[in-house]
Structures are given as structure tokens and as C-alpha cells.
Amino acid sequence: SQTIHQWPATLVQPVGSPLSLECTVEGTSNPNLYWYRQAAGRGLQLLFYSVGIGQISSEVPQNLSASRPQDRQFILSSKKLLLSDSGFYLCAWAQNYQPQHFGDGTRLSIL
């Protein structure tokens, strides 16, 4: 069966520091991968999605970037974090037009 892993579960970072969040999927190949962000008390917003290695689509202008160095690995990064980057980040995968399944998320606090 397929599983999705996200880490770390929680992260506290100072303003201006770099960021790297990682997401991996097991048990499948060539999945669609997605990064969403949930600001406190609000809905989820799609940040990036990828339909294959090296293929990244950005949905909103922001201080973040994404990369897919391997088929089942999706990384969310920032060179310098802003206070507004705080939130709950969720990675998801989908394949063959099946519904997206989400990881457990990373709670990011910027101080």
C-alpha cells in the first residue's frame, strides 16, 4: 500500500533563516505531488504541484520554492523565512485520477 511521510512534524525558525521541508511517498511511482499551506484558522491553499521529476508549477507568488529531485520526493524550501510563512504545511499525492491523500503535516512557526 502507499504511504506518505512528511517531516519534521513541527518546526520553529527565526525570521530570515532558511527552510527545507521534505515529503516522500512510498509504494507507487510517478505520482502527482502537491504542497498546501493552511494559515491559522483558515482553509488550505495550493502552493505547488508536480506531475513529474523536475516539473514544478507554482500557484501563488511567494517566498517559497519547491523541487522534485526524485520521483517520490517533494521538497519545499525558502532562502529567508518571513513571519507570514508561518502555518501548517501539508503534502499530498495522487495518481490515476484518484483522490489526493495527505501527509500528517508540518507546523511551522516563525519567530
Binding site: 483558515r42 482553509g43 488550505l44 501548517f88 483522490p99 500528517d104 507546523r107
Partner: protein, 114 residues
């Protein structure tokens, strides 16, 4: 542009009551998917249901039922005989049928009191 509206920000009911969560959507696509996800306090998103825009049949799964009405662009979710474990934030979402980029509503926080 696609948009999902969940007008009910918070709902609080007593256990065993029935409760309906409303969802209204906007899209110009003729083919699309509609979803409901549950987010318990632990934060993960749990998939509940997906409906194709061509399938307007209502669906029932145990105490859960969904009413899809294309004429009113609504996809409402009803929990019958609610239980404390149903307490969570519920999200309605819409996607295209290509890359399946999900557009979420703002969520409805449902609290079931014993």
C-alpha cells in the same frame, strides 16, 4: 476562477442530533470533482468522499450522506445521529479533472457536545 464557499464557520450541536454542512461552489469547467475532507484536532486531512460532476446521485455511507445538486451548485454533507468523535473541521473542495488541483472552502468547525 474556481471558488468554494462554506458559509458556516462554526456549528455546535448536542450528540445524536443531525447536522448538515453546506458547500456552494463556482466553476466554469463542465467536468470537475467535488470532495469532502475531515480534519481532526491532530491536523491531518482525511478523505471522505469524491463526486464526479456527471454523477448527481446522492450517496450514503453509514451515518454520513451527501447531497449533490448541480442546479444550485451545492454539495452538502449531513451527519445523522452525530457523535462526539465527529468533532472536527470539515472542508469542501473542488478540483479540475487534469492535475486535480484542489480549491478548498474555508472549512466548518463542527463541535459535538455530549
Amino acid at each position: 476562477a474556481q471558488k468554494v464557499t462554506q458559509a458556516q464557520t462554526e456549528i455546535s450541536v448536542v450528540e445524536k442530533e443531525d447536522v448538515t454542512l453546506d458547500c456552494v461552489y463556482e466553476t466554469r469547467d463542465t467536468t470537475y470533482y467535488l470532495f469532502w475532507y475531515k480534519q481532526p484536532p491532530s491536523g491531518e486531512l482525511v478523505f471522505l468522499i469524491r463526486r464526479n460532476s456527471f454523477d448527481e446521485q446522492n450517496e450514503i455511507s453509514g451515518r454520513y450522506s451527501w447531497n449533490f445538486q448541480k442546479s444550485t451548485s451545492s454539495f452538502n454533507f449531513t451527519i445523522t445521529a452525530s457523535q462526539v468523535v465527529d468533532s472536527a473541521v470539515y472542508f469542501c473542495a473542488l478540483s479540475d479533472t487534469g492535475a486535480q488541483k484542489l480549491v478548498f472552502g474555508q472549512g466548518t468547525r463542527l463541535t459535538i457536545n455530549p
